[in-house]
Amino acid sequence: MAPPDRSDTPRDTGVLEDAGIRADSNMRHNAERLASWLEFLLHPEEHEYDRTVIYGTEFGGEGHKKEEPGPVAPSVSDQPGTVPHDAQLPFESVLDGYRISQFIHGMSAVGSPVVERPDNALAPGVAALSNIWWMGDKRVPSLVDRFQELGWKGDASSVTFDFLLRLQTVTGQVHKVAEQLHDVIPKYAVVIKGVRHNLDEAAEGCVRAFEKKFAEKPESEMSVDWTAAILAGIAAAAVTYLTAGTALILEAAITTTWSTAFSDAAGDLLTPTDGTVSGYWWRDLAHSYLREQADILAAGKDEIDQLNRKVDGLIKYFNADEDIQRFLKDYGPPS
C-alpha cells in the first residue's frame, strides 16, 4: 500500500539515483517504496495526515510535541473569537531531522558492485585459481611421476628430473594459495548478496511497518518481522568449492564456472533468520529500521574483514615461501 495520494515511487527519484541504486537493481523496488513513504512522512505540509503537533506555543512557551494522525485546531476556549476556522496548531514531520538518504545509504554501499552476474570481474580468477590448483594437485605430479617410467637414465636424466622436481615444488606450494584464495572469491560475492538481501528485506519490512502503523493506528508497540540471511560465519565456513577435476577449465567456461561456484556458495552459506522492525511512534519504527541497517552493515563488514585477513595471510605466506621466492628471483620478471 502506497502512502495516501502517492504511488510506490517517490516524487523525487533523484535521491535513489544519488545513492547509486540503479533502475535494474534488485533493491530498487523496495527502495522506491520506502522513499515514497519517507517523502510522505517528511512532508506533512503536503497532506492532512500524520504529523507531530506542537502544543502550547500559543501562550508563548516552547510547547510540547505529540504525534497526531492529522492537523489539530487550536482550542477555541483558549482564544475566543480569534481563531480562524481553518487554523491549526504548528506541526512538523513525525520524522523531523531525518533524511531519506540515511535510510538507503546501506543500499548505496552494495548497489553498484557487480558480483552476481556471471561476467563479473572476479569470474576469471575463479577459473584461473581452479586450474592452478589442478596443476599443482594433479597435473604436474602426474607428469613428474611419468618421468620415472621413461626408462631414461644418466646424468642428463638426473638433471632434468631435478629441474622438474623444482617445478613440482613451486606448483605444489602455489596450489595451496590457490585453494584458499579460490574460496574467498565466491564468499565475497555471497556476503555482498547477503547484505543486499537483508537491506532489501529490511526496507520491505519497514514499509510494512509504516503501512500497518498508518492503517491500523495500533495503541501499543507493534512489530513486523522480515526474512533475513545470517551473515555471521560466511567467511569462516569450512567449505571448499574445488573438487578433484579431471580437465582444465577453458576460457569459454569461465562464466559457467562462476555461476556454479557462486550458486553453490550462496546455497550453502545463506541461511534464513528473522529480522524485526518494531516500535510505537513513527520515530521508533524509523530508529528500529536504521538500527537493523547498521547491524546488517556491521555484520557484513565483519565478514569482509575476515576474508581480507585470509587474503593478507596468503600474501604473507606467498612472500615468505622460500621455494616460490627463489623461483621468482631466478626466473620471474626483473624486480
Partner: protein
C-alpha cells in the same frame, strides 16, 4: 633402447614425454590467459565495490565499502603476483620441453652416427643375411 655404461634412453618414450610437456605448456597458456583477465585494473576494482561518490560521508556504509576496497585491493595484488609467477613457470616448462627435445635429437644423432659407422664396415650387404 640405446644403452651404455653411463646412460639409457628410449627415444620414442622421450619423444612422447616431450609432447606431453608441450601439452602442459599449452595448458599454462590457458591459465595465463585467464590470469590476464583476472588481474584487476582500476575499472575492474571499481566494478566490485561501492561507489565512494554515492555514499554519504559517515556511517556503516562507508566503513563497509572501505573494507570491500581493502579486500579487493589485496586480492588484485595477489592475482598480479600469481600472474607473474605463472609466466615464469610456463617459461621453465617451455625450457624443459626444448631441452628434452634437443637431448632426444642428440641421442638420435649418436645412434644414427653409430649405425652409419657400422654400415660402412659391413659394406652394402643388407643387415641380418649373415656371411
Amino acid at each position: 633402447m640405446s644403452t651404455s655404461e653411463g646412460f639409457s634412453v628410449r627415444l620414442d618414450e622421450l619423444g612422447s614425454y616431450e609432447d606431453e610437456i608441450g601439452k602442459l605448456v599449452t595448458e599454462y597458456d590457458t591459465i595465463i590467459g585467464e590470469l590476464d583477465l583476472a588481474v584487476l585494473d582500476d575499472a575492474g576494482k571499481a566494478s566490485l565495490v561501492g561507489d565512494p561518490e554515492k555514499l554519504i560521508s559517515t556511517g556503516g556504509a562507508v566503513e563497509f565499502a572501505k573494507s570491500c576496497r581493502t579486500l579487493i585491493g589485496n586480492y588484485a595484488t595477489l592475482m598480479t603476483t600469481l600472474q607473474q609467477l605463472h609466466e615464469a613457470i610456463r617459461g621453465q616448462f617451455t625450457h624443459a620441453q626444448q631441452a628434452i627435445g634437443e637431448s632426444r635429437a642428440l641421442y638420435a644423432k649418436v645412434d644414427d652416427d653409430h649405425a652409419l659407422m657400422f654400415e660402412g664396415l659391413l659394406g652394402d650387404r643388407p643387415a641380418g643375411e649373415g656371411s
